[in-house]
Symmetry: D3
Subunit: 229 residues, 6 copies
């Protein structure tokens, strides 16, 4: 049910459940048109680069976390990469995007950059990131760990948290709140559909959104009528 909800709705539901720190800063949909995503998080973390840790040879090490992660992230999961908020360093490029696509991953989210971006977008795979960046990750990052708690876009991501993305960006739903957010979010969006209809017809904002008693009654009648259809 989450798949039908907007990120705006989800962040409001999280706020109502006491979670304000849920929306990533600076991470935006790069595909045009936007490709929405929903799925459990699989995490990868970079640390700051250092010349002895970040040489081209590093990439060929069999246990190099950023390459291992690409092969381990499960079908349908969202690969979330802590790119340290460095929009000018790529976390990966077009060859890896092809592999993620082949493996049927649900999408990529990072607070870093993407290299060969135009090629990547041709793969028609969902990418949420800070934008293009030519330098490879080893230019300024070193490999960290995979499937640990990370930060991305300034928010916490725990493996298996639910990641949602649309035109407004990316939010993280703590796993234990996902079903309740889905339920209440569906109800919220239903009301907003009704409220928007009233506003378009000329109803004033105050009293309509949020609703006063009169609007609540009218909404219930509308819901009732809708169900009949």
């Amino acid at each position: 049910m989450l798949r039908k909800l907007s990120v705006a709705t989800i962040t409001m539901q999280l706020l109502k459940k006491g979670v304000r720190m849920a929306s990533m800063n600076g991470v935006r949909p790069l595909n045009k048109p936007t490709k929405s995503i929903v799925g459990p998080a699989f995490t990868l973390r970079f640390i700051p680069g250092r010349e002895d840790l970040s040489s081209p040879e590093t990439l060929a090490q069999p246990d190099y976390a950023p390459r291992v992660a690409i092969e381990k992230v499960p079908k349908g999961a969202i690969l979330v990469i802590d790119g340290r908020g460095q929009s000018n360093l790529a976390v990966l490029g077009d060859i890896i995007i092809e592999r993620l696509k082949f493996r049927r991953i649900g999408g990529l989210v990072t607070d870093g950059g993407i290299r060969d971006l135009e090629e990547c977008l041709r793969a028609d795979f969902p990418i949420y990131a800070c934008g293009p960046a030519a330098p490879a990750s080893i230019t300024g990052h070193a490999g960290g760990d995979t499937q640990c708690a990370i930060g991305c876009g300034g928010v916490a991501v725990i493996p298996n948290d639910i990641i949602v993305g649309d035109g407004d960006g990316v939010a993280v739903i703590p796993a234990h709140l996902a079903s309740q957010v889905a339920k209440d979010g569906f109800e919220q969006e239903n009301f907003e559909t009704f409220a928007k209809l009233q506003i378009k017809k000329g109803a004033p904002l105050i009293g309509t959104y949020p609703p006063d008693k009169h609007t609540k009654t009218a909404y219930e009648q509308w819901v009732h009528a809708e169900k009949k259809d």
Copy 2:
């Protein structure tokens, strides 16, 4: 007459009149293609959020400034919202945009974000902001005042200052300078039309733009000839 002038021309005229602090930082046109705006400012101000001031219940208070402002901003005016330069917090979303449109407001300008952005753009209403942001205003803002002096994009906005926006962004014209800026700006753009013609034909930059005596004479002749047509 201001409506025909570019924001680039207006900022140059303001500079010539001693005003350098006139162009908003980070505020850009979100509609594609750009929808130009000109109109008097109606202002709204947010302050930093605090949990006791920024709960969902706050939105339903009858005197909640951000909702009151939507109903009070006059037809044709530009609603300018001090979003504290927080691009990752929305100042409003699609339902409110529909209300602004219904009320025939001239446009929205903010140094904050917009939620449900794709829906908002479908309303075909002029929006200048920092981009999309899912979290509702109460996630990090609290309501301030309406129709007071504010800052937006790092520049002062006094109610009834003239707001102009185009593809280059948004500038603020102090109300008492508006007619002179319009007059001198029209003259500037007329000369620039002439200068661009010369440059396209191969005239060197130096002597043409800014003009030396020779170019000034040629311009006068061109103006004279244009008037005849």
Copy 3:
């Protein structure tokens, strides 16, 4: 040969030759679709503005560096302007772009803004910058020098360094490394074409990219076969 290489490839080759500080921050292609550029750098430098150095009269001084530069930058060269990373101040506008185009310059690169941006893009001339900005340079810059060592987007640019730009942004190749970067970059991209084919067919990342012995042998066979065609 550089013309066929991506900026991503070039930054990797520079890294392999010990140069990590090569890619500009915040400088992006403004034309849609992207117009790739390659050419030697011709440099111009702004300094912070000051009211006595940055009046409109300054623009008419015959030795004003920013105007002199426009007339001196040679055909095919890339004009690189140190705009002090101020995305909210323009370094130039549409009339100057027309002059650069007339003089058959290879392109413009700056870590500042561009005014009259929509007009500039109509000229169909390659522009890499931080985006639109209405205020003229004299609003906050003063003129510096031309053809000196500068910084742009946080990287060093020495006159005659080779500037390359594409959808991923802009990189600077030290002049003495250009031919080796071109040669090795061509080899790198050839291998990546092969690797991407394998990945698309389902080859795992590890062993393929970077290649192990098996992949290296397969690549050599593929190169051999390609040459025959």
Copy 4:
């Protein structure tokens, strides 16, 4: 009772009551040694400067808010000035500090700079700010309002909220929470005195702070013994 509590304790008590957004960023005690402050907020707000609003003549206008505020802030209150987080612009200097001292104001808090700082400190009046800054406010600010809701150091300040400052910086207590924060904070600090004694004697952190059952019993005995003394 608040006067005896540290800002660290107060922010913890606010967090326990659901308020995380309470501590100012970048605002620090400038007197050496630190002069602690507690008192109700009296607020003043600057907006971005503009040449027509920010001339030296402005300072002499009888209703210029920044001057009016100095004469209106009551004895014992804390003057809190929204300096727009501009550490490089002064909000006031030594002559005004002398007036605040004469009027027996409780202290000054701002997220801007202070001019003539060394002279100001000689007045032996409590100042919390971002540090020294030579330029007068009118260099980059314009006057706003007084006694309205403001932001300072990124947090909301409502007139009559309680402002507390010590070596760790400045926190804002919503007026309606002040007495409960005082009461619970006193209890917290009492326990921490006990816990620190145990830690100094070699007690492990875990079990002691936060306390387990054993530590809680020992604390109650200690409290009982203290009361007897």
Copy 5:
């Protein structure tokens, strides 16, 4: 006469003469107590580093600008170094400070860091900078030019502009304005001495500072009386 004026006074005089962009951001006195400076600027400029331009061998090149500058800056002049606002990179260290002291330079001003800072301060030579920074300049800078127009702390510095520094930081006086600033600044400080006396005695701010007619008359009498002494 400038030597007796505070930087706060000087920036106010510059503002009155139309120059708002005069005070350096982030540059502060590092000696305790502050060592005031006044003198003509001698400039040095760094550009962003690049591994081929910034190796340890570079330092030994006979024409390496940063070393040449140390030997060329004249006795009494202020060495102003454009450290690109990088507080985490040193522009120089203790050995060079000793050389500047031996050569009787008037002081050092930079918007970069200083290495071996504690050793440097033992030399008892005036240093205005962003603070300590261990990495040598070549870690992230490359050498640029000497005695050219530069930016430092966000303001323009032209060789022979007058640099003044005190506890509030550093300001730049355009050479052609220096004598007028000195004259008017002396008058300003004289009035402020008077005004502060009145304020300390209990005069209200409004009417005293800025002065109304009554205060102006009283000031003239005070000046007259002072002269007699």
Copy 6:
């Protein structure tokens, strides 16, 4: 031997060995006078906070990483805490400092803030951090892991890397380079002692530092003479 070397020397030796990314940004000694530190790194990592992960109850969980780390960091080691560069959030306070002192830890390094700072400094334990910050870690952080690769002040820290701190800040020596850095650094400092003596006597910078042949010979003679003493 490292204990006698300055951080400035160590960063130069690392640069000579190809490591430029070694010095922490924004991390400074808080004790006055500075307390130098050298020792192997023991690491702790925070992630961004989230209300469900960052409640006061979290602190009492027996496996809460930030508390476990305090009890596990070995005698003589340096506790390095990734505080996410958030200077306005504390990573710990005075009670924990007392425990670290009791356990004879070598020192604390973090790119976050410290609460109860004045109390902490009374413990006379070496602290390198961004400064005071009242809010407890749970206000904006959540607990991550211990003894993993982290970033601190923008540089990589691997457990058992050697951490050194003095008045210039903190550097990280990759464990495998430590003995060579110590050896070459000792030689460098010996030469610098000689060079500084020459500079103080009036030797010009060029030829002395870096040394030309003549200076090298004089240095060798000085070394020889020193050894005899």
